[in-house]
C-alpha cells in the first residue's frame, strides 16, 4: 500500500528568519494523525535566513540527522563539536543521555535550505555522539547513497533504519527492495520523481507498507532528489 502525503498537506510555520514545512507534528503544528511513521518522528524542511539560526537548546534520546540542500549550517554543541555542514554531507547526532547544541546559517548573505530528521532510537541513554561525513555528488546520482544506518557504511544510528539519498535525472531509475515486514518513507526534497507509478513533486512524500520494492524514476524537466527511509 502506498499512502501519499502531498507537500501542501504538511504543517507550515514562517517566523521570518525561519520558514519550515513539517511532514509530522512539530512545535506548534500538531496533528494526531501525523505523529511520525514507524521510528521516523520528524522531517522538517527548513529555510533559514542569512546569519540566523537556532540558539542553544537541548535534546535527549533522539537520532538527529541533518542534510543540507543549499548553503551551509554552523553546528556547535556541548560535546565541544564545532562544524560547518554543506551540500553532499550528512550530519548525525545521537542525543542519548543529553546534549545541548546550536545551529546557525553560517553565511551572512545566503539562505540555507536543510532537511532535519529525527528518528526514535531503539534504546534510551546511549552515549551522545556526533558524526559528519562527506561524499561525492556522483555517489548519489543514479544511485542510492546510504547516509545513516545502524551497522556502518554511513553515519551510525541507534535504530533499525536506513536512510538513503538519490538524485535522478529525467527517466533515470533506481530500485530498492523492501524485505518482508519493512516499510519505506520517500520524501522528495528537490524536483519531481515517479514512485511505483505515482508522480511526486518537491515536498511530496509517500509511505509504503507491504510493498516488495521502491521503484523510483526521475520526472519532469530536471528530475529530482529524494530521501528514502527503509524502516522496520
Amino acid at each position: 500500500m502506498i499512502t501519499l502525503r502531498k507537500s501542501a498537506e504538511r504543517g507550515h510555520s514562517n517566523r521570518g528568519w525561519l520558514d519550515s514545512y513539517f511532514s509530522f507534528s512539530f512545535a506548534d503544528y500538531h496533528d494526531p494523525k501525523n505523529m511520525g511513521f514507524r521510528a521516523l518522528r520528524v522531517i522538517n524542511d527548513d529555510r533559514i535566513q542569512p546569519g540566523k539560526g537556532f540558539g542553544p537548546h537541548g535534546h535527549r534520546d533522539m537520532e538527529i540527522i541533518t542534510y543540507v540542500l543549499d548553503g551551509h549550517l554552523l553546528h556547535r554543541d556541548s560535546m565541544g563539536e564545532r562544524h560547518i555542514l554543506g551540500p553532499n554531507e550528512v550530519q548525525t547526532m545521537s542525543a542519548g543521555t543529553g546534549i545541548v547544541h546550536s545551529e546557525f546559517n553560517a553565511s551572512e548573505t545566503e539562505e540555507v535550505h536543510s532537511i532535519q530528521i529525527w528518528i526514535l532510537p531503539a534504546r534510551e541513554d546511549v552515549t551522545p555522539s556526533y558524526q559528519q561525513i562527506a561524499f561525492s555528488p556522483d555517489e548519489k546520482r543514479g544511485h542510492l547513497r546510504l547516509l545513516a544506518a545502524p551497522d556502518g557504511g554511513a553515519t551510525i544510528i541507534h535504530q533499525d533504519a536506513r536512510l538513503y539519498v538519490t538524485e535522478l535525472a529525467p527517466k533515470q531509475k533506481v530500485r530498492h527492495d523492501l524485505a518482508a515486514g519493512r516499510a519505506a518513507w520517500v520524501q522528495v526534497v528537490r524536483g519531481s520523481v515517479n514512485l511505483n507509478g505515482a508522480d511526486l513533486s518537491e515536498g511530496d512524500a509517500a509511505a509504503l507498507t507491504d510493498e516488495p520494492e521502491v521503484a523510483l524514476a526521475g520526472a519532469g524537466e530536471h528530475g529530482g532528489e529524494i530521501l528514502l527511509f527503509d524502516l522496520r
Binding site: P56, G58, G98, V100, F104
Partner: protein, 151 residues
C-alpha cells in the same frame, strides 16, 4: 506528567561561564527537563572578541515570561564585577519584583558562582548550591523541580 522547565541564565564575554551554563543545561536535559538558555546582555564594557560576538548572536536576554514559565532557575555569573553591571542589576530587580508578587514561590533556584547572596533574598521555595559541579547541579535542580511539580 509534563517535563519541568529549567531556565539557565548567565553572563559571559569569554565563553568560560557559558561552558558552566551549558554543563548545567546538559545536566538538566539528562534529568529529562526542558531547558531555556538566556544570556544577560553586555553592560558598559562590551567586548569585541569573537566569543562575545558569537554569544550576542546566539542568545537572547531573559524575559519575564521566561522566569515565570520556568520551574527552576539556575544563575551563573563569571565574577562579582559581572553582577554589578547594569543588565544584571535590571535582571535582579525583575526577580525581586516577581518575588514580591509571589511569582517565584514553588520554583527551585540555584547558582553557579557568586550569586547565592543575591538570590537569598528572593522567595524561591529552595535556594541552594547543590553541587560545585555544574553538570550535577543542573541534574539535581531538574530532579528537584520534577519532584515539586509532581507533589
Amino acid at each position: 506528567m509534563s517535563q519541568p522547565i529549567v531556565l539557565v541564565t548567565f553572563s559571559c564575554q569569554t565563553g568560560e561561564t557559558e561552558k558552566l551554563a551549558l554543563s548545567a543545561a546538559v545536566g538538566a536535559v539528562q534529568a529529562r527537563a526542558l531547558i531555556r538558555l538566556r544570556r544577560i546582555p553586555d553592560g558598559d564594557s562590551v567586548s569585541d572578541n569573537a566569543e562575545a560576538v558569537r554569544m550576542r548572536k546566539e542568545y537572547v536576554p531573559p524575559a519575564e515570561a521566561d522566569v515565570v514559565g520556568a520551574d527552576a532557575l539556575i544563575f551563573a555569573a563569571g565574577s562579582e564585577a559581572d553582577m554589578l553591571s547594569a543588565p544584571w542589576h535590571d535582571f535582579l530587580n525583575l526577580l525581586l519584583r516577581l518575588s514580591k508578587e509571589d511569582k517565584l514561590g514553588g520554583k527551585v533556584g540555584a547558582s553557579i558562582g557568586g550569586l547565592s547572596a543575591a538570590l537569598a533574598g528572593l522567595r524561591f521555595l529552595t535556594v541552594t548550591q547543590l553541587s560545585s559541579d555544574a553538570l550535577a547541579l543542573g541534574r539535581n535542580v531538574a530532579e528537584m523541580a520534577r519532584s515539586l511539580k509532581s507533589s
